[in-house]
């Protein structure tokens, strides 16, 4: 990857790294997952079962660790999209400004001449995620099915759909797709 290409995906790569670091921290925290380790962890995490039974505490602690994993996944998907949006938001005003200038200076047709600058999009049109994705997508080979799936995974995560289940698209699939979009469009 060239340094210019790496620069374009830097925000996304950082978000991806943070996801992996969080995940690794969770794995480290769990350690070897032995009963002894989990009972000690239960004291630290406050997952000791009310029943006082060791087996219940082990189960509660393991379930808590899995719930944290799911939360890391969901939040990371949101973070990856936030990095994607930030990548474009910082560049779109410049691109729109340049497109407007070119139209202002070189638009030749009498047709809609007075309104010629309105033919160029405005920054406000990219406030929502979907128009931004629709705008960027034609530059890449990411399929519309993939785009729709990763977007709905992001929305599900943001709006609390199926909080207790895994995201239907994995963070690595989101990362790959957004990486392809940025690399192709910028």
């Amino acid at each position: 990857m060239t340094s210019a290409a790496a620069d374009r995906t830097a925000l996304l790569d950082d978000a991806w790294q943070r996801y992996n670091l969080l995940r690794m921290m969770l794995i480290r925290q769990r350690g070897d997952g032995t009963r002894q380790r989990l009972i000690r962890l239960a004291d630290e995490l406050g997952t000791t079962a009310a029943s006082g039974r060791r087996e219940d505490t082990l189960r509660k602690t393991r379930a808590a660790l899995d719930a944290v994993e799911l939360q890391i996944e969901r939040q990371s998907i949101i973070e990856l999209f936030a990095a994607f949006e930030a990548t474009f938001r910082s560049r779109i005003p410049t691109a729109i400004g340049e497109a407007g200038r070119v139209v202002r200076e070189h638009y030749q047709l009498p047709l809609l001449a007075v309104l010629r600058e309105s033919l160029v999009r405005t920054q406000g049109e990219f406030r929502e995620l979907k128009p931004l994705l629709d705008f960027v997508a034609p530059a890449s080979t990411v399929s519309s099915e993939t785009l729709s799936a990763i977007r709905s995974a992001r929305n599900d995560a943001a709006h609390g759909l199926s909080l207790n289940t895994a995201a239907r698209v994995r963070p690595e699939q989101v990362y790959r797709a957004l990486h392809d979009l940025i690399s192709a469009a910028l």
């Binding site: 690794m24 393991r62 709905s152 207790n164 239907r168 690595e172 990362y175």
Partner: protein, 176 residues
């Protein structure tokens, strides 16, 4: 495309437009899978090394709405629990996905994919349209391993069809 394939495709397209039918097909496939898994592991169940338990869970997916489905768990010796957890039917690369993991180690779990979409199976790219359940191994542990796997655009190990042997091997792997 042969006539049978075309007719099957037409029927599936019709089902795809009907959320209730999609849910029925998905929950049915999962119930059949559980029966099969319990059958494959019956020897261990009989010997008291595994105790199977199913519990109802509620899922909600934007494309089909909410529905109930079962989650399968096996109590193993030393308080370990093996979980088969349905994720949903609106999956990017298949007609449904279950996660398979040891409770407390979800992040290192495997996935079971139902009817993977053409070209999505890692290491089995030549396979045009795969039917049935496929096992997707966990991504390599560690940041570097995961990034390398991504740069190669495939998990470090290929997906494999779900067979009794592959299932048992995966359970052994997950138990560490």
């Amino acid at each position: 495309m042969g006539l049978k394939e075309k007719l099957t495709r037409l029927r599936e397209d019709a089902l795809d437009r009907n959320p209730a039918a999609r849910i029925g097909r998905w929950t049915g496939a999962v119930a059949e899978l559980y029966d099969q898994i319990e059958g494959w592991l019956s020897e261990y169940i009989r010997d008291g090394l595994m105790v199977a338990r199913r519990e109802k869970v509620a899922l909600e997916e934007s494309v089909v709405g909410g529905y109930d489905i079962e989650r399968l768990e096996f109590d193993l010796p030393a308080g370990r629990v093996l979980v088969f957890d349905p994720v949903g039917l609106d999956i990017l690369d298949a007609e449904g996905r279950l996660d398979m993991y040891v409770l407390g180690a979800r992040s290192e779990g495997a996935s079971l994919l139902l009817d993977p979409k053409p070209g999505t199976l890692a290491g089995l790219a030549g396979m045009p349209a795969a039917r049935g359940w496929f096992l997707r191994p966990p991504l390599p542990p560690g940041l570097l391993g995961r990034i390398m796997a991504l740069s190669e655009r495939r998990p470090h190990e290929p997906d494999v069809p779900l067979t009794r042997e592959n299932l048992e091997t995966m359970i052994e792997t997950l138990l560490g």
